[in-house]
Point group: C2
């Protein structure tokens, strides 16, 4: 088995938001991404995309939480006990977050985005432009997932 | 600035494919993901999703390539010189790959997927279920991006 213990991952920036843990789950919340100043020129051309994937490191997750292999989605005991890879739980072997955001503005090394569900100070690992090739039409999800989504958003969209 | 030099990232598995570097770019290529056996139960429930995001580590990228801030998309000099975050180039500060794949089958710790553009032996960092919340309707991309896509796929879809 390959080991990646020696991989050097450094943040490329961090999240700035005044939203707390509950508030960042609201999809239209606006946050800032403060990119490292030495990477400012790596943003050239990003403004021409309307949406980006943000990949971040959920630094609040403990070593113990990373060892969990099964969870109840959103900690709800009325939901089935599932493998972590069937969920978006932050408790996973590598607590990497992935969120699609709307890009509102770029000023020098600072991006203003809508919809980033990451806490203040969260280290950013990568930014990627979004395009339709990242879309699966007619994707299937399980009933428990759809149920949570309807409760959370008020629609099954 | 936050530093992540001490973050411990370990692969959760690796890619198995006989496709070479050119062949893996073909969208309907079938590959296997060999998950670590100790993580097999973390797959419970994954089979009920039709599509997954695969997050992987592009281990062939050198330290020098990680320092690049600008690239020509796909190395083509007829394309504009752009910041790496405006592209999907593997040359980026953290060479993390993100691909949406179709899940065909799971047997024990082995997933068979369609559309994974990762080389044989590529370390996998995470798997996440795909859902419509990862979709931006009417997303904008720049003209150069659309041009490449039409050339590559034969359509602007």
């Amino acid at each position: 088995m390959l080991s990646l213990k020696k991989v050097k991952i450094e943040s490329i920036g961090y999240v700035e938001t005044d939203a707390n843990e509950m508030e960042i789950k609201v999809k239209d919340k606006i946050s800032k991404i403060i990119l490292r100043e030495d990477l400012t020129e790596a943003l050239e051309g990003v403004k021409d995309f309307s949406h980006l994937f943000v990949i971040f490191w959920m630094h609040g997750i403990s070593t113990e939480e990373r060892k969990l292999t099964k969870v109840h989605p959103r900690g709800r005991s009325d939901m089935p006990l599932l493998g972590v890879f069937a969920t978006r739980s932050p408790d996973r072997p590598n607590p990497i977050g992935l969120t699609l955001v709307e890009l509102l503005k770029i000023e020098k090394n600072i991006l203003t985005v809508r919809g980033l569900d990451a806490l203040n100070g969260t280290p950013i690992l990568d930014l990627k432009p979004f395009d339709s090739w990242d879309v699966a039409k007619n994707a299937n999800v399980p009933d428990w997932w759809r149920k949570l989504e309807i409760e959370h958003r008020g629609s099954a969209a």
